[in-house]
Amino acid sequence: MGFSVVGQNLPRLEGKEKVTGQAKYIDDLNFPNMLHGKLLRSPYPHARIVAIDTAAAKALPGVKAIITAEDLPDRRHGPFVQDTPLLARGKVNYVGEPVAAVAAVSLEVAERALSLIKVNYERLSEVLDPLIAMESDAPVVHENLDAYPAVFPVQRHGNICSLITIEDGDIEQGFKTADFVFEDTFTTPMAHQCHLETNGAIAAIDAQGRVTVWASTQSVHLNQIRIAETLDMPMSKVRVIQTRVGGGFGAKVELTVQPYCVALARLSKRPVKIILTREEELVATRPRHSSIVTVKTGVKKDGTLVARQIKLIYDTGAYADDGPGIVGFGSLMANGPYRIPNYKIEGYCVYTNKVATGAYRGFGNPQAAWACESQLDIISRELGIDPLEIRLRNALDPGDKTVGGQNLFSVGIKECLKAIKEGMDWESPKSKNRGRGVACVHHLSGLLASSAYVRINQDGTAHVAVGAADIGQGSDTTMAQIAAEELGLSIEDVAVVSQDTDSTPYNWATTATRLTYMAGNAVRRAAADAKQQLINLAAEVLGLPADKLSARNKVVVSVDEPQKRISYAELGVISHWVKGGQIIGNNSWMFNEQPFSIDVKVTGFPFRVLGAYNYGAHAVEVEVDHETGLVRVVNALTAHDVGKAINPLSVEGQSQGGFTQGVGYALFEDLKVKDGKIISNTLLDYKIPTAVDVPAIKSLIVETNEQTGPFGAKGIGEAPLVPVAPAIANAVYDAIGVRVKDLPLTPERILDALKV
C-alpha cells in the first residue's frame, strides 16, 4: 500500500519551541503566590519512628504548611501491590524515604524548616542483600504483607514480594535429551534512568476544591487515579496536565512528587511547586532493579536449544512499585526470541531495605537478556558455532509460538540478524585487541487500554485527542501521522491535543513500548470512524451510496464519477450548521490475544493481556586496552523489526538513544550502595555516556507487517537498550578471551578477569 504521511521522516511538531528555548517544562512555570515544597527524608535504612516534632519548623516565619503521615489518609498505594505510604507511617524502610513535607515562601525557608523537624528514630536491623532477605530468619521489611491488596494473584511470604513461575514441556526430559548442559550465574547493579530533567510538579486548588496538577509525567491518567486514591478525592476533583517532559524512561510513570504538592496546596490554600534536585533523583527515586540470574540451558551438538531453567532474583528494595510487573515481564522475556520446547522460569521479586526500584526502559528484560544472551555466547563458543549462526538456527519464525504460547504474526528476528551480519561485515578480519559481539532482543508493544477521539472542525481540519504522553520520543508526531494518513489530510491539518485529563481520553501510560502500537491503534480506528462519518454525510449530500465514495486529500469523491465530490471543509460546515452536529470519531482499544495456551503452567503472573512482539539484533565491535582494562565501543550497528516504521527518523532516534543507555549499563553505570545508602549521588559519581563514549551508531530498520498494528506498525522504545550489554561483553570475550558475568564491565573487572 502506498502511504503519503506514514513512513515519512517528518520533523517534530513541537520542534521549534524546543530549539528556541520556548518549550515549557515544569520548572519553567510559576504562579502568583506560589510556595516551594521540600521533603524530609529518612537517614536510616530501617527504623521505627517514635515521634515527629514539627513545632519549631511550623513556627519558622515563611513556613505555610507541614504534613506527616498523620495528616494523610491511612492508605497505601502501588500499581501491583498496595504497600507504599505517601509518607512513612510507623517506620522507615529505606534511606531517602519521605517522612514529612514542607511548603514555604522560598526554597531556602523550606530547607531551613526541614532542619527544624525533629524525628526520633529507633534503629531496626536492616536487610540489604536479596539472598539474605529470602532466608527465613532475615529481618522483615513488611510485617503485614498479607494485608496489602494486590491486583493480581500474588504469591508471597516473608520478604518475597511476589513469585512468578512459567513452565512448559518437560524440563527433566529436555535436559536428558541435551548433548550438553550449561549453567551460569550473572548479576547486574541498580541503574538510574537519568532523564535530564528531574521530576517535578505544581498543584493549585480552585474555590470549588478542585485540584489542578501540572506535572512532568509519563501519564496524566495514572497520576490522576493515584492522587485520587491516595488522598481520598473523587477523580472528578483531580485534573492533571502534562508540561513538556525532559525525558522519563520509566521514571515518570508512577507518582513522584505530585501528591505532596496536592496535600500541601490543600493545607496552605496556595499553589505549591516541588522540583527534585539531582541528588534526590539519584538517591531516592526508582532505579532499575539489581539482579541475580541463574540460567541452565540444554543444547544439542548442532546448537539447537532443547531445555532451559532460569531463576531470576530481582531486588525491589523497600516497596513493590512496578516490581512484580517487572519480574513477571523479565521472566516472560527471558528465553529470548528463540524456540525452546522445554522450560521452567521462576522469578522472585524480593524486598530489602534499599530504595524502592521501578520501571526503567526494558522493564526487567535487560537483566534477563544480560544473562541469557551472554550464556548463548558461551554455548556457541564451546560448541564451535558462530554466535550469530547459533542465533539464526534457533530464532523464531512467523507462525511460531513464543514463551507462554501466544501466537506470533510478524517476526523479523532472522531478518534483523541477517541485516547486522551484512552491515557489520561480520566475518571480515579484525585488528588486534578488537572483538565483535552480537545479541538479540524480543520485547512487547502493548499492555492495557488506549482510547482516542478525532474531531472534524468546520474547515475540515482535525483535532486528535489521545492520552499518549509525548516525553520526548516523538509520539505526538507519530499520532498526527497516523491520523493524517487515515483521514486523507496533511500533517499540517492535524492538531494533537495536549495531555490533560479534562480533555484527552484514557491511555494507561507512556510505557511498555506501547504508544505507536496501542495508542496508534486507537487513533487510527477513531480516525477511520470519523472518516466513515464524513463519507456517510457526503453520501447524503451527493445522493450517492456511501460504498461508492472514497475520502482522500480533503475531499470525498465518487469512485465512478470523480466530478461528483465534496470537500471536508464543506462537510465540516454542513455538519456543524445543518445536519448531525460535529463529526467525532472515537475508539477504545485493548489487545485481546490470549497470553498463555492451556498446556502452559503459569502462577502469579501479573498481566492479563500482553501485546505484539517486536524484535531486534545488535552487533558491536569493541577495542580492549590490556594495560588499563578500558573497553571502547568502536562500531555499533542495530537492527529492529518495528513492523511498519511510521516515522523512520524517530525509530532511528530511539534505537541510537536506547543503544547509548545500554553502553552506560554495560560499561560504567552502577548506583552504588553503602550501608543501605546510595553513594552515587551526583552525575560525576553516576557517570552516563557522553558524546565521546559512543561511536556513530548505525540503525537499520527491518519492516514487517504486523496485522494487528496501525498500518502494520509495532513499537520500538525499549528494545534498543536490552541487548547492548551482552553484545558488548560478547565482543570483549571475542577480543581478549575473557568472560565477565557481572555488570558493569569496569576496567577493574576486565583486569581481574585477565589475571585469572
Binding site: 521522516n9 520533523p11 517534530r12 513541537e14 520542534g15 521549534k16 519551541e17 524546543k18 530549539v19 528556541t20 528555548g21 520556548q22 518549550a23 515549557k24 517544562y25 520548572d27 519553567d28 534512568q193 537519568c194 532523564h195 535530564l196 530533567e197 528531574t198 513538556r244 517532559v245 525532559g246 525525558g247 524512561f249 534536585t277 539531582r278 516525553i471 520526548g472 520520543q473 516523538g474 527518523l649 524517530s650 532511528e652 532516534g653 534505537s655 541510537q656 538513544g657 536506547g658 543503544f659 547509548t660 543507555q661 551526583t682 552525575l683 560525576l684 552516563i688 555516556p689 557522553t690 558524546a691 565521546v692 559512543v694 556513530a696 551508531i697 540503525s699
Partner: protein, 158 residues
Amino acid sequence: MKQEIRFILNGEHVSLNVDPSRTLLDVLREDLGLTGTKKGCDEGDCGACTVLIAGKPINSCLTPMGKINGQEVLTIEGLGDPEQLHPLQEAFLKVGAVQCGYCTPGMLLSAKAILDINPQPTEAEIRDSIAGNLCRCTGYTKIVEAIKYAANLLEGRS
C-alpha cells in the same frame, strides 16, 4: 549586599541589582524570565545550563553573577527565533537531533562555540566540543550529524 552588575545579554545592555553570589542560571531563569537555559543538576555535571560568555561555553549554574560584570552573554533566546532560526537550529530539527529537548539549548550553544572557531570540525572535534553536554535521549549520533549539516549550511551562506 546586592550589587549593580552590567553586562550584554543577547545583544542588549542589561543592568541588574543582584546578590553577586547568585548564579547566572538562577538570575536568567528567576529574575529575567529567560527559562530556555535549563537546570539538569545545578552542580556543573550535565551542561544543560550552558550559555556562551564572550563566545565560550560555560556552565551558568557554576557562574556567580559577580563574574559576569562587563561580559557578553548569549543564551538560547539570543540564537534565533521561530521565524528566523539559526542554521544550527534548522539542522537540529531537520536531522532529528531533538527528542525531549532538555539538553538542546545547551547543546546548540556548545555547537555554536565550536563552529565559530572551527567552521568544518571533524567528527572527533565535534564530539569533544559537546562532551560536557549530556543527552540521555539521542545517543548523540544525530546531534553530531546535525552539527555537520549546520557547518555546511553556514559555509554555503557565507
